[in-house]
Structures are given as structure tokens and as C-alpha cells.
């Protein structure tokens, strides 16, 4: 195996095959080589930049799989560092690249790599960068990928301190994570006079699907743009679907009935499809009138869902 110096020299070789051979075995190098590779991401020669990037990828991927460290050591009959120790070392080196003394490209690379292998221990250092306008998108991307409540709490913290123009992005991350604890923040955002922020709150709340206690203030539908109106009704449907999934069909019925009576065929179809999944006599009664709808798409959709409802469920 090459020394660190030899390895870095090969990464910077004029010969692409030498560079390739080096990056192919990068995972065998000590994680302490990561900062030097990071600097090479800014090299003048594009082939060197590529080799450094691929070497970093291979180092990170080599520790990405959860492995029982004890079993690994036992199977290999050796006592050196386990994979999870190496993973911690790799994460530590990546975190060291987040400092303001590093170039932006290095910090972005580190955040993207951390999104793949970091665990909750790394969250505080990552979340510290949330206020940085040049990095905030990457920070949220990274936190969104790290499982666990700690990263959701960090996203909530980022939301509280974010500029208004960035709050929708953070709300989207919380919605994507279905972070239950973010429900109240989403409902608060829905009260905003800024339609983009209000709809971001509504969309996130719909995806989380948490129970709504107390006063609920929806965005002013009539004041919304056409696309926001679409998102409004889609969010209502998602929220209703979530209630059914959580065993609360009573929370869904008022929404489904309202959407069922909309003029547009696709909203009626969506309501029909959703109601059919409830599968009760009440559901059948709600769908029945649509079997004679003047709109052929609604009619056919109702017929098909009716047929499915009347078949015994498959094992």
C-alpha cells in the first residue's frame, strides 16, 4: 500500500490510469488523507479534481454500510479498528472541512458526503451552518437525510432562525420527514399573509398529517394563485388520506365530501378513489351518485372503484 504522500502524488499524476489506480484503493488510506483530497478538488487540472472526488467517494462509501463491528473483527481475526471506528474517523475529517477557513466547494462536498453517512452526533456541527446563505440549501439537504429526532430538531431550529424566503424550504424538509413535532410550526406558517409561506406550511402539515387541535386557519383560498389553489386541495386530500391511515376516518370525511362535490373531474375522481379505500357502506353511498355522472371520466372512475369495492379483498 502506498504512503499518504505517494498516494496523493498518484492522484495528481499526469497519467489518468495512475490516477484511477490510486482512487480505486482510496478506501485503504487513513481517513486523515481527506483534507488533502479536499484541497485537490480545487486543482487546476480537471483530471486531478475528478480523481480527488472519486477517492473521497470511495472512502465515504467504504464506511457507509452498517456492520456489526464485533462480528467483522471476529470474522477477520484481527484487532485493528472496526468499520464503525473508521466511519467515525471519516465523519470527523469531513466535519473538519466545514470550517469557514475552507473553500465553499470543500464545505459543499463535505455536507453532501455527510448526508450519506453522518449520524445524529454530527448534527450540531452541521446545523451551525444553517444561517449561512451560501450553504443553507446544502445544510437542509444534509439534515433531511440524517435519520433521527436530533436532525428534525435541528431543522426546527433552522426554521425558527431562517429568513422568510428560506422558510418554505425548511418546511418542505420537515414535511418530507413527516416530523410530528413540526406540526405546530406548520400550522403557524399557514397563518402567514405571504401565500408562498402559508402554502409551504399547509403542504408540510398535510404530509405530516398530525392531528389539529384548536383553531385551524387555512390560507385564504380565493387569494391564492391558480397553482397554489391546486396545492391547497391536494394538501387537503393528503391530510385526509393520512387521517384514514392513522385510523381516524372521521377526520377525513368532511374533506372527501367537499372535494367530491367540486366541479373539476379530477378532484371528484380523487375523492372517489380515496373514499373507496374506506370501504364502508357510507363510502359506497357517497360514490353511488357518481356512477351516473355526466362526465365520462368521473363515471368510469366511479364504476371501476365500485367494482373493486364489491370484490372480496385478495389475500
Amino acid at each position: 500500500m502506498p504512503t499518504t504522500e505517494e498516494f496523493l502524488a498518484e492522484i495528481q499524476s499526469d497519467d489518468e490510469d495512475v490516477r484511477y489506480a490510486a482512487w480505486s484503493i482510496a478506501e485503504q488510506m487513513d481517513p486523515a488523507v481527506i483534507p488533502a483530497l479536499s484541497e485537490l478538488l480545487l486543482a487546476d487540472e480537471p483530471g486531478v479534481r475528478k480523481a480527488a472526488a472519486e477517492a473521497l467517494n470511495n472512502i465515504v462509501h467504504s464506511v457507509g454500510k452498517e456492520v456489526d463491528a464485533l462480528a467483522l473483527r471476529a470474522a477477520a481475526g484481527r484487532a485493528e479498528a472496526s468499520e464503525s471506528d473508521k466511519r467515525q474517523a471519516v465523519v470527523k475529517e469531513l466535519l473538519s472541512l466545514l470550517g469557514s477557513e475552507r473553500q465553499e466547494a470543500e464545505r459543499v462536498m463535505a455536507l453532501r458526503q455527510l448526508s450519506l453517512i453522518a449520524t445524529v452526533d454530527a448534527v450540531p456541527a452541521i446545523a451551525e451552518l444553517a444561517p449561512d446563505r451560501n450553504l443553507r440549501e446544502e445544510v437542509v439537504f444534509c439534515l433531511e437525510r440524517i435519520p433521527g429526532k436530533t436532525s428534525e430538531d435541528a431543522l426546527l431550529g433552522a426554521l425558527a432562525n431562517a429568513d422568510d424566503d428560506f422558510k418554505p424550504r425548511v418546511l418542505a424538509a420537515l414535511g418530507h420527514r413527516q416530523a410530528e413535532e413540526a406540526m405546530s410550526a406548520c400550522l403557524e406558517a399557514m397563518k402567514s399573509p405571504d401565500a408562498t409561506l402559508a402554502m409551504a406550511g399547509m403542504k408540510a402539515a398535510a404530509r405530516i398529517g398530525g392531528r389539529v387541535g384548536g383553531e385551524l386557519r387555512l390560507p385564504d383560498y380565493d387569494a391564492l394563485s391558480e397553482w397554489h389553489k391546486t396545492e391547497f386541495t391536494d394538501s387537503l386530500l393528503r391530510y385526509a388520506d393520512a387521517q384514514v391511515e392513522k385510523g381516524n376516518p372521521n377526520g377525513a370525511w368532511p374533506i372527501y365530501r367537499q372535494v367530491l362535490e367540486r366541479e373539476e373531474e379530477h378532484w371528484q375522481c380523487a375523492a372517489i378513489v380515496a373514499i373507496a379505500k374506506i370501504g364502508t357502506a357510507e363510502a359506497a353511498a357517497a360514490i353511488f351518485p357518481k356512477l351516473r355522472s355526466d362526465d365520462s371520466t368521473v363515471r368510469i372512475t366511479a364504476q371501476k372503484t365500485w367494482e373493486r369495492m364489491s370484490k372480496p379483498s385478495e389475500a
Partner: protein, 447 residues
């Protein structure tokens, strides 16, 4: 509704149409009153090389038969009139070209959401870059449009499943552009194999030539007229580079994914269809391969992906370059190895799809297996807009095919075998691989 019934109904509709004068008019007795509009209105999002092929110009509106280009089928259909009424592209030059080709007064947009708001559009054709397919499809469903979206269906497994959910939630028709299943020769191969003519299939070996390497070009400012931020959309930001955009994005893992995602979506779509695996997936995926040692592109130069399926047990292999068939010369395709014989199916897209004569000559015996016989990919889509049936390349099947391609690339990147749970769509015991099954959206672009 059985396949037999569906085929018969479609034949009826086609025959009813053929007796009309000029336009194809569906008798109102076929469907309960009132009869649907005679004309379909299409919107188009992404009007580059591929997207232009879907345009329905005003000049062809009065023609008695408009055949879809390169989309297979026996070509014996008389289609309904359709018109492209709305066009969208983030490249102003492409928008202008398309508007001229269509003629009349299509409405022009740079923001696809404005196009989706247009109420008189029945269906949209999405031919934007791969990383936009999922979100545009989902949003089109939300807007009540049926969708024809180019393959591959999605960039991530999460996106694909979200497309399936949206399609089902809104009762929409979504056809994905892996038109191989609509090719006559693919149908011949399918009926031949599904009726046991090569015995039980143990292995399907695909071959395809290597991925290109890509020269180094410097990053630059995007050209005037191109909304590059919108081009990037939900993907992670990279500086503009002409070698990474129009058409060539497919050689970058972040935007495309190489030939496995491009042509693999065709070749493996047919394999999945023939093997009746549209609602399942492999239990393991293992990729070996080598990247280009230099150049801009990061998709592998050569690769071999082995997919193991269970119950029934069979193996699917995607190989670049692989072992071309000795029966039919072609740049890519698949050989199906059965207990008693084998069969080659080449290509899987366009009208160049071919198979061996023995399959073309085969007649299904009484009581044999009859695969669905598509009238043509575009025709099938238009039929389903009216019938609300699932088209031949419906979104669930396309999602499963895309998943094969995605997992092949993940295994390549991580340089390890993946144990896959096709029911829960998760990788077993591999945290990093599971994080790669999704990708948080940039800016306002989220699932």
C-alpha cells in the same frame, strides 16, 4: 375486465372510427351520454429532440390517420384528431421552433405550472430531463392531466413510488415512454416465451455498448434564453457546463445515469414484461464495473449488473459491453435462456426491435397465454385516456424497471452487493444505500 374484453372493445372502437368520414367519431352509444369531445388537446413540457416527436400540428388535424412516430404497433389504427395547444420549454429557442412546427396559436410557457393550469388540456407529454420526470408527472396528476412521460420514470426509488401514489390518488392515466412493449416483435417474443416455447427461463442476459467518456469543457455562463436554474430544478446545483446539459445530462449520475437508465429502461422493460415481474423486484443486485479514468462523465464505462429474482428463481444480467447475440446482430438487446432453448430480442425501443423468426411465426394455441397486444404506444395511451384502463407501460411497471436501473447504479457507486426487499422497497442492512433511494429536492421543488 379481461384482456380479451379490452382487446375486443378497442377493436370495436377502431372499427367504429373507421366507418366515419374524415374525423374519427365515437358513437355515443358506445359510452353513456354525453359523448366525449372528438379532439384531444395536448400540452408538451420539454420540446427537445425527443419532445418534438410528440407534437400534433394543426396541419395534421384534418388528416384521417396520424400515425405515431417510432412508437411501434401494427400501424393499422385510425387515430382521433389531436392538437398541441400548449408548449413549454425553459429554452426559448426550442419553444420558438416547436411553435412554428405546430402552427396555429399554441400557448407558450416557460413555467410548466402555468401550462398545467390551462384547463382545456387533456394530457401532457413530458420530455424534460430525467431528474424532472417525477415531479412534473406528480404535479400534472394534481392538475388533473393524464401523462405520457419519457423513460426512465424516475431518478430515485422514492420518486417512482410517489408517482405511482399520485397516479392512483387522482385516477389518472400515466404511460411511460418505454415503447418496446408496444412493438410487434416484442409481442411475438412475449407470447412465444410465455407459452413455454423455450422452457422455463433461468437467465436473461442483456448486452449494450459502453457509456461515453465526455471531454473536459470549462464551466461557463448559461446561454441567453436558457433558464438554467429551472433546468437544474430539484437536482443539486452544479455550475452550467454545455457538456452536462441538453441531451448529454444522461451521462452524469446526478442527472441521468448512463445507458442502464436510458436503454436499460427499454431492454429491461421488455424483460420484466416477458418474465411477468411488473409488480415485484429482485432480492439482490450486484454491480461490477469500471468508470472512465478521465473525462467529465461519471457513469461507468463498462459494467455488469446481476439481479437475482426469487419465486420463481431467475437471473437478469445487464452488461456493458456484454455478450451480443449470435442469432441477430444488434447494438443492444437481450437473450432469454430457457431450459430447452433460447430467444433473442434486440433493442426494445423504436421500430428496430427484432426477434427470431420462430417467435414471429408462432401462433398461440387455444387456451394458451395471450399477453396484452398493444395497438401502438401512442395509440394505447389515447385509448386509455378514454377507457381509464391502465396502459401497457403503466407507472407501477415503469417504476419497477427504473428501480432496477437505479439499484444497478447504486451498487456500482457503493462498490458492493445490495440485498433488496422488493415489497418494502428498502435495501437490507445498508444505511447508506437506503439514503440513496431518495434525494431531497432543491429550492421549491419537492415531492
Amino acid at each position: 375486465m379481461t384482456i380479451q374484453t379490452k382487446t375486443s372493445r378497442r377493436k370495436f372502437l377502431a372499427q367504429a372510427g373507421a366507418t366515419s368520414l374524415g374525423f374519427t367519431i365515437v358513437p355515443s352509444s358506445v359510452l353513456a351520454s354525453p359523448a366525449p369531445s372528438d379532439r384531444l388537446n395536448f400540452g408538451h413540457i420539454g420540446i427537445g429532440g425527443r419532445g418534438r416527436r410528440f407534437l400534433r400540428p394543426l396541419a395534421q388535424l384534418d388528416e384521417p390517420a396520424v400515425q405515431w412516430q417510432n412508437l411501434g404497433g401494427p400501424g393499422d389504427r385510425v387515430l382521433r384528431p389531436a392538437l398541441s395547444v400548449a408548449l413549454c420549454d425553459i429554452d426559448a429557442s426550442r419553444l420558438d421552433l416547436a411553435a412554428t412546427a405546430v402552427g396555429g396559436r399554441p400557448r407558450l410557457y416557460k413555467d410548466f405550472r402555468r401550462l398545467l393550469e390551462q384547463r382545456d388540456i387533456d394530457a401532457v407529454f413530458i420530455a424534460a430531463p430525467d431528474h424532472w420526470h417525477a415531479l412534473m408527472t406528480i404535479m400534472a396528476c394534481q392538475a388533473g392531466k393524464d401523462v405520457y412521460v419519457e423513460k426512465p420514470a424516475s431518478k430515485t426509488v422514492e420518486e417512482g413510488r410517489a408517482m405511482v401514489t399520485a397516479t392512483e390518488r387522482y385516477g389518472r392515466v400515466v404511460q411511460v415512454g418505454s415503447q418496446g412493449r408496444s412493438q410487434e416483435t416484442a409481442y411475438s417474443a412475449c407470447k412465444y416465451i410465455q407459452n413455454g416455447q423455450i422452457g422455463r427461463v433461468r437467465e436473461v442476459k442483456c448486452w449494450h455498448y459502453e457509456n461515453p467518456r465526455g471531454d473536459w469543457t470549462p464551466d461557463s455562463d448559461p446561454p441567453d434564453g436558457l433558464d438554467y436554474d429551472r433546468w437544474i430544478g430539484p437536482a443539486r446545483h452544479v455550475p452550467y457546463n454545455e457538456t452536462r446539459t441538453h441531451g448529454r445530462f444522461r451521462w452524469m449520475l446526478d442527472f441521468g445515469g448512463g445507458q442502464i437508465r436510458d436503454r436499460g429502461a427499454h431492454v429491461m422493460s421488455i424483460a420484466q414484461w416477458i418474465m411477468d415481474a411488473d409488480y415485484t423486484g429482485p432480492v439482490s443486485v450486484e454491480t461490477t464495473g469500471e468508470p472512465h479514468h478521465d473525462g467529465m462523465y461519471d457513469t461507468p464505462q463498462e459494467m455488469t449488473v446481476t439481479y437475482e429474482f426469487k419465486d420463481p428463481d431467475w437471473t437478469l444480467i445487464w452488461a456493458q459491453p456484454g455478450e451480443p447475440s449470435t442469432e441477430i446482430e444488434a447494438r443492444y438487446g437481450a437473450v432469454y435462456h430457457g431450459d430447452s432453448d433460447r430467444l433473442t430480442v434486440t433493442y426494445g425501443d423504436r421500430h428496430t426491435t427484432d426477434t427470431e423468426q420462430k417467435a414471429k411465426d408462432y401462433k398461440i394455441p387455444h387456451g394458451g397465454v395471450e399477453p396484452y397486444h398493444s395497438p401502438g404506444h401512442g395509440e394505447d395511451f389515447e385509448d386509455c385516456i378514454r377507457s381509464r384502463e391502465k396502459p401497457i407501460m403503466h407507472i407501477e411497471s415503469a417504476h419497477r424497471v427504473a428501480t432496477l436501473c437505479i439499484l444497478g447504479n447504486i451498487s456500482f457507486r457503493l462498490r458492493r452487493k445490495l440485498e433488496w426487499d422488493p415489497v418494502n422497497e428498502r435495501v437490507k442492512n445498508d444505511e447508506e444505500a437506503n439514503r440513496l433511494l431518495s434525494r431531497p429536492g432543491r429550492g421549491p421543488w419537492h415531492l
